[in-house]
Symmetry: C2
Subunit: 383 residues, 2 copies
């Protein structure tokens, strides 16, 4: 934590856990008999529970979206740039809820937690999750918190897909969906990159068929490779050029397989750090949830058909240098929403930062995001 | 081989080997005491040896560029679409030479061949190669074949970089350089993808520090992953969409880690096939040669400085859907050549096929390529 907590921080925060003792029927056909959802909240729920905002996290995210866990926490939550007093998601006005998704590795039921029916760790037996399953479990959380209708459901990347799914599955339970740097489904290239990441993990000799917990090890190399390849897709070519260019680590070539270029050093280091903090089985589940997301297929029709019964208003945002989910993919969503007569605002942000931009404090992005959320807050207080 | 050899094929061909008993000083500071270069030739060298064309291969290429090795050869050489009677590189007019690069795994001296000084396999002790080193060894081959000056040096991708290097290192020994789908140096993103591929191989437990030959194994999984990630960069997003879309292999989701989508099946299969036919140490060397290529740095100046002493004419070609080495990268080369007053023709081919396009029989590409080579042939016969 910085020496003093910044004025615009939500400050010290504590995770909470909801235990749901009700079976959750999943899209894969299996049933979770009971489950835990760990979550954080920021701000205060108003009397009529009309100011609640749900934050949905992306592939490697979790429930800790803003603030600090302790006085010596080196950094704040993953979306601290957008959540806090006076920030786009203004905690002076909103009650913000961010859960860790099922299948995660930060406290919610997942491969690393206990299967209540066997007393053993789930490991690879944890059921495959889909975006639809997550939304269903998030609705249980809303019920438990007394939130009948979200002022907004908000997310970037895989989180944006959850916001979109909310608008389809519970059209009466949200007033706004904010869908950032997302896509209506993965492209073959997106799936291909996910598959490389999965194969890296699945073929690591320390994976042990997903039962590495029992061997007191984990597929470190597989996770490093998976993260390295993922990381490349989160940055734009330009962002990498600006950040690293062809800079050499030691100033000259040494003609070996040790690091020559800064970019190699950076990727290895990021991969290494990630491998120590993320569970391999969770990584596998999250990439599969991405692959499966396809509302049009789900309803056996077009994206317009899938979105036909939505009722909320939408803000869709994309970043022009994002090549993972390019603006074109966001415009597919926007066009379908316009077709079915929804209120949809669309902003394409000019930045060289690539897909990662949705996590960054980019002035134009924050301004537009904040303006939209300001209107959401006003509608809420006038309701 | 097809039941009858096509009219426009060079037919049955046989590799030859040049043994060079002269030391080759390398950029890395080491010396190859002697070496073998395996190569193929197609067509007939004319009396004044003025009709010779050198083909430089790319990362996973080799000397077998056209024709068939035997009557039951299932497919022709890797650039058969462009080399043969009446094809862009017309073997009725040109004497075509294609060597396997040093460090390769198809017959030229490389990690899998014997170190003449120790009698052992080179393995990881084979020296690091650069594009400049390859060009130097190719000049030895030209000498041995009595070719003082190439009518053209031609290559795609890493092969195009060799053509460019020829124009700088031996300005009097080529009349034309044909540089296809190349770049004047790798970007940080290009290096990053190479690094993922290398780490896949280097961390495979069957790599054994590059001495897997002694353990009667090879880093199969590492090579599969390396090829999978490479393969994604060779195809455009559109090409993948057209080829696979989101087609499922079994028609429905089965919610497991086996193949769900056709694109996964394709990449795994391609990677598997590649891993059986390519040497891991060679793959490492080839990716490093790509990373090191940077003529501007070499001359401690700009690309214009590097190209200032070139004399040949240039044809530069790029493909609009190539995101590995985009048209922008080719235009950097073209602009620098124009700056230093060279004759340079530039064509940007409209195709959704991505980087791989340079290997494919795309009508517009073949037509432009053939027209340029036709003029090269005329200049040769008028010389």
């Amino acid at each position: 934590m910085p020496e003093t907590i910044p004025q615009d921080s939500v400050g010290l925060v504590q995770p909470q856990t909801l235990h749901v003792d009700q079976p959750l029927e999943l899209e894969c056909g299996r049933v979770l008999p009971s489950y835990d959802l760990v979550y954080e909240t920021y701000g205060t729920l108003n009397a009529d529970a009309s100011n609640a905002v749900l934050i949905c996290h992306a592939l490697s995210g979790h429930h800790h979206a803003a603030g600090y866990h302790s006085a010596d926490d080196p950094r704040p939550g993953w979306w601290d740039s957008c959540i806090g007093p006076g920030k786009p998601i203004d905690t002076n006005r909103f009650f913000v809820v961010c859960p860790n998704n099922l299948g995660g590795c930060h406290g919610s039921s997942g491969p690393g937690s206990q299967n209540p029916e066997t007393g053993q760790l789930w490991g690879p037996d944890f059921p495959m999750m889909t975006v639809k399953d997550w939304v269903k479990s998030q609705a249980q959380l809303a019920d438990a918190l007394g939130i009948q209708r979200w002022a907004a459901v908000v997310g970037g990347s895989l989180g944006g897909m959850q916001a979109l799914q909310w608008s389809m599955d519970f059209p009466d339970r949200l007033a706004n969906a904010v869908v950032i740097a997302a896509a209506p489904k993965l492209s073959a290239q997106n799936i291909a990159f996910n598959e490389v990441a999965r194969q890296s993990i699945l073929t690591d000799p320390n994976f042990h068929g997903g039962r590495y917990y029992l061997h007191d090890t984990y597929p470190r190399q597989g996770l490093i490779l998976a993260r390295m390849v993922g990381h490349i897709t989160y940055l734009s070519d330009d962002a990498m050029r600006m950040k690293f260019g062809r800079d050499l680590r030691s100033g000259r070539f040494h003609f070996g397989f040790d690091v020559e270029f800064q970019v190699e050093s950076y990727l290895r280091h990021q991969g290494e750090t990630f491998s120590r903090n993320f569970d391999a089985n969770t990584y596998l589940l999250m990439t599969k949830a991405l692959d499966y997301f396809d509302p049009a297929r789900e309803c056996d029709g077009t994206l317009e058909d899938a979105l036909a019964d939505t009722r909320c208003n939408f803000l869709v945002m994309s970043f022009n240098s994002d090549w993972r989910f390019s603006p074109e993919r966001s415009r597919e969503i926007v066009n379908a929403l316009v077709q079915v007569g929804r209120n949809v605002s669309y902003a394409e942000i000019d930045t060289p930062k690539g897909h990662d931009a949705f996590l960054l404090p980019i002035p134009e992005y924050r301004k537009l995001f904040g303006a939209y959320m300001g209107r959401v807050a006003e509608a809420t207080s006038n309701a």
